[in-house]
Symmetry: C2
Subunit: 313 residues, 2 copies
């Protein structure tokens, strides 16, 4: 489902979702960053993501430990986008007999430890290709999780940091591979490579956004343009962006279209409450506002086409 066939993926997901039973009132199943289920007096949050060698990770450019980290990080970012606290992870590994499991699980373990989401089970099996699937639980016990669908006209749109670092890092890693060595050693180049190899899920920022009154939130995994479009579609709204923070190594195109930055984009009505909630964290950047007309999707007054990968549900 890469390239040409990726474009049909939303159609496939829509037809799958239509055939499945829907949630009871108050719950959210397919269609957000994670599923939201009532559990006791709080909410249980569930997400799962798969990383496939050669599709999501090129082991000629990054380590198998990085692949393990990324499989965890993609899921932790989904929890972050709900404003949830990570709970536990299940890790299933399907791979060839010569897979370096020690290195793979080192990356998984590092992410699990950093974000306090211990691995409690899983499965290990043979497969011609390395496929790592992580499923995570999370919880929200002091309020409601932040869906994609709650943005209201007038809300400020925020992003948790500069965009495009992962795409720029991939470009630099590919250039390195072509020139036999790390040609660029500036700090911002190292940061970009790291952003691609070890993307950082913004768990604390997601909590802060929720506590700062976020009405809608999504993580930037398919590119800002695409993911903000998902948020706008689900909220029945449009948006006017004034500016977009671009990571030092990245182009504007990479900032708008590059996936897997794991920055969070959210809408919130009260700027002061957002600033206060992020105290002690990197401050978020205001990039525009939500408007009622859902046909309005602009950056600096110019129409913004959604683009980027389409693989989440």
């Amino acid at each position: 489902l890469t390239g040409e066939s990726r474009r049909g993926e939303f159609g496939a997901i829509a037809s799958i979702a239509a055939a499945l039973p829907g949630p009871p009132p108050g719950e959210t199943w397919i269609g957000d960053d994670a599923a939201v289920l009532r559990h006791g007096r709080g909410w249980l949050i569930l997400a799962a993501d798969t990383v496939v060698e050669g599709v999501h990770a090129d082991l000629r450019l990054t380590g198998i430990d990085d692949l393990g980290w990324k499989a965890m990080a993609a899921n932790l970012s989904d929890l972050a986008a709900m404003g949830a606290t990570p709970g536990h992870a299940l890790v299933t590994v399907a791979g060839p007999p010569d897979t370096d499991l020690d290195a793979l699980y080192r990356g998984i373990r590092e992410a699990a430890g950093t974000y306090r989401c211990p691995v409690v089970g899983g499965d290990l099996t043979g497969c011609p290709v390395l496929v790592v699937t992580v499923a995570v639980t999370g919880s929200v016990d002091d309020g409601d999780p932040v869906l994609r669908s709650g943005a209201r006209p007038g809300d400020t749109l925020w992003v948790t940091g500069p965009l495009g670092a992962s795409a720029a890092g991939l470009r630099l890693l590919q250039r390195d591979a072509g020139t036999a060595g790390s040609a660029g050693t500036a700090g911002w180049e190292r940061d970009a490579r790291s952003a691609h190899a070890r993307p950082v899920p913004l768990v604390a920022a997601g909590l802060a956004a929720r506590r700062g009154g976020a009405t809608a939130m999504i993580d930037v995994s398919d590119g800002l343009a695409a993911d903000l479009s998902h948020l706008a579609d689900r909220s029945g709204a449009g948006f006017e962006l004034t500016s977009v923070p671009v990571a030092p190594a990245a182009t504007l195109e990479e900032a708008l279209g590059g996936g897997e930055d794991y920055q969070l984009v959210f809408a919130a009505p009260d700027d002061a409450a957002v600033i206060a909630a992020f105290e002690g964290l990197d401050p978020p950047v205001a990039i525009g506002r939500v408007v009622a007309d859902r046909s309005v999707r602009t950056l600096g007054g110019v129409a913004l086409a959604p683009s980027g990968w389409q693989h989440e549900w």
Copy 2:
């Protein structure tokens, strides 16, 4: 990790588990059919399993809808083996662009509907090989889940039904493929093929066993000899089997070594309580008893070597 390399799998799992942080007192993480986590006043149960085309399912013999069913059934059986009630499922599909998603999700949907474990999310991505991973939640709110580790000397050992049907069904399907058509059409032959294509997770029986006082339980996914050895190892006990119920189409070897029957094996101290708890269900069959000497592992007085697949954790 098939054949030769499968034998190293327990070693790999042991080294992975040793490097991961362990559970707090009262919880069980890696090492049982599913993870057991405290959640409010009850227990949250988590399991995940992967089905790989060509490793766990041969699409020349069974349908892609059967593969979907099997991916759900393997997880539901893990919940059954804890005496848990199914909650929700996450389904991740990695596969080639020409994958028949409609048929795959039909099988998934049928299992989800039959066992009331709705699909609430997941992921869809490209991969050269079809890999379906299901993660499930379950719950136990009226007591404690049944681990593998609680069997006590003197407990009766029970199995929920005859064994070997799945292995026999695979043999019949392979014979059919060799002779261009279903050579055997007797009822027991059709039942065996169905047991292989659409294995039945015994959710109600697992609940009954728990309520009937089961001290230890496991599902037969690797073969009775292997899985009963896991239960005995974890319980620090041995066992003496007097007989084993063999499915009509199966050989004794298939009953002892064939995997993926999804029958449940459990130990319980009070035979009358077990019989009463199974009222309205197919009655379980007493096959022997637990003994204190862990070196004793016999069937009809003859030593029983563990065998079969080793792929669960």
